[in-house]
């Protein structure tokens, strides 16, 4: 599973990018946080973060990481991390 925490404003763009990489599903929650680019509160919708989870096979995960690094990582508040998960009915993903 790949998890990305980034600026809410990026939601549409990021989702389009994920889908172009063949991702079949994702889950998004609203979040706030702090990182190298300072505090990001959700008081004002524009300023909050989103937390995007994508369950996918390792190859797709690596493609996501590469694409995200190239396209977004330099200019946007963003982190990405990966975890192993075991899924129910893995044919779904």
């Amino acid at each position: 599973m790949v998890t990305i925490v980034t600026e809410s404003a990026l939601e549409r763009t990021l989702v389009a990018e994920l889908e172009s990489l063949g991702v079949r599903g994702f889950t998004i929650t609203d979040a706030r946080g702090k990182g190298s680019r300072g505090l990001r509160q959700s008081d004002w919708a524009q300023e909050g973060n989103i937390r995007v989870e994508v369950i996918c096979d390792p190859a797709v995960a690596d493609r996501i990481a590469a694409r995200v690094r190239e396209k977004f990582y330099d200019h946007y508040a963003m982190i990405l991390f990966m975890q192993d998960v075991s899924v129910l009915r893995s044919d779904k993903f």
């Binding site: 990026l10 763009t13 509160q41 008081d43 004002w44 524009q46 330099d74």
Partner: protein, 313 residues
């Protein structure tokens, strides 16, 4: 300037609470609710007045507005780039913000005009709509050049279908179609509560502006000077243009204030997508934490005198 309008006091309350880090956060959904009501109310009001006056928009006026929108970012860019020594992207982003307009400032102005009984062109909300987008496009071109690697189509779509444009134009259309009688039953919410809703909106804006002020560390001197002087320059350009196309004194006042105002919603969002290497905190701090307070606290009365002066020639 007479006595202070209470809605301005709400802004100050929010700003003080924000600076003191009081636990006063209002959820984002309240901001959405309140700003939706404001935008619809401004549109409706304009539409009802338009229906009453039977006015159209002269083509010359439209051309002048587009020229203002596309043109104002250029001096802003030059000042920021060469006096402020900002990067090209940052200077262009400031151009987009200051060339575009702030609907919040317009809402305060509308309240002020109504309170003082100053007449102005009913179609003024249309000016807001026309002025919002061109400066953002100009800012992107300033950053990227015409051939730049920009996905113009989705960007334009998103800009032209932005919240404020849709709600303002939607309100205008509904007000215009339904007229004063048709809208009578919805006036208690949209007109009767207008000033109260504006007060809540400014309370939130005060909180947000105060939070944003925290980002005012780097370039502080430049940003404060810029955030105060640029609106004065914009107001002068706006007032002269308004005079040139024959607006009423009230209309000149409105156009001066619009030119003086800086976007803090549409421009930040668009620049974030199209010119991501621009530092978003820089323009937003200037626009939200310096220019917005300056305009509603000090600027509007100044622009009023300026407009009266310009109109008298």
């Amino acid at each position: 300037m007479s006595s202070l309008d209470p809605v301005i006091l709400f802004f100050l309350l929010g700003a003080c609470a924000g600076l003191a880090k009081a636990e006063l956060r209002l959820p984002a959904s309240i901001y959405d609710f309140v700003s939706t009501l404001l935008l619809l109310a401004i549109g409706l009001k304009g539409g009802v007045e338009l229906a009453r006056a039977g006015e159209g928009i002269p083509p010359v006026e439209l051309a002048a507005l587009l020229a203002l929108g596309f043109g104002l970012p250029i001096p802003v860019f030059l000042v920021a780039r060469y006096l402020g020594r900002l990067t090209r992207a940052d200077a262009a982003s400031l151009g987009a913000h200051y060339g575009s307009v702030s609907v919040g400032t317009f809402a305060v102005l509308i309240g002020h005009l109504a309170a003082q009984g100053i007449p102005y062109e009913a179609r003024a909300p249309v000016w807001v709509v026309v002025l919002e987008v061109p400066a953002i496009l100009a800012g992107i071109v300033l950053a990227r050049g015409f051939g730049g690697d920009v996905a113009w189509k989705p960007l334009l779509r998103e800009l032209l279908l932005g919240r404020s444009i849709v709600l303002l134009l939607g309100g205008l259309a509904i007000g215009w179609i339904s007229g004063p009688d048709g809208t009578a039953a919805i006036q208690p919410l949209f007109f009767g509560l207008f000033k109260g809703i504006l007060a809540l909106f400014l309370l939130e804006m005060g909180l947000i502006a105060a939070t944003q002020l925290g980002a005012l560390k780097q370039n502080a001197v430049f940003l404060v000077l810029f955030g105060v002087l640029m609106p004065l320059f914009g107001a002068t350009v706006g007032a002269l243009l308004g005079r040139a196309i024959g607006l009423s004194p009230g209309g000149i006042f409105v156009l001066a204030t619009l030119a003086a105002s800086a976007s803090y919603i549409a421009a930040p969002t668009a620049m974030r997508t199209a010119v991501p290497e621009a530092n978003p905190a820089l323009s937003l701090t200037a626009s939200l934490a310096v220019t917005f307070p300056f305009n509603i606290l000090v600027g509007i009365p100044i622009y009023h005198r300026l407009a009266t002066l310009v109109a008298s020639f």
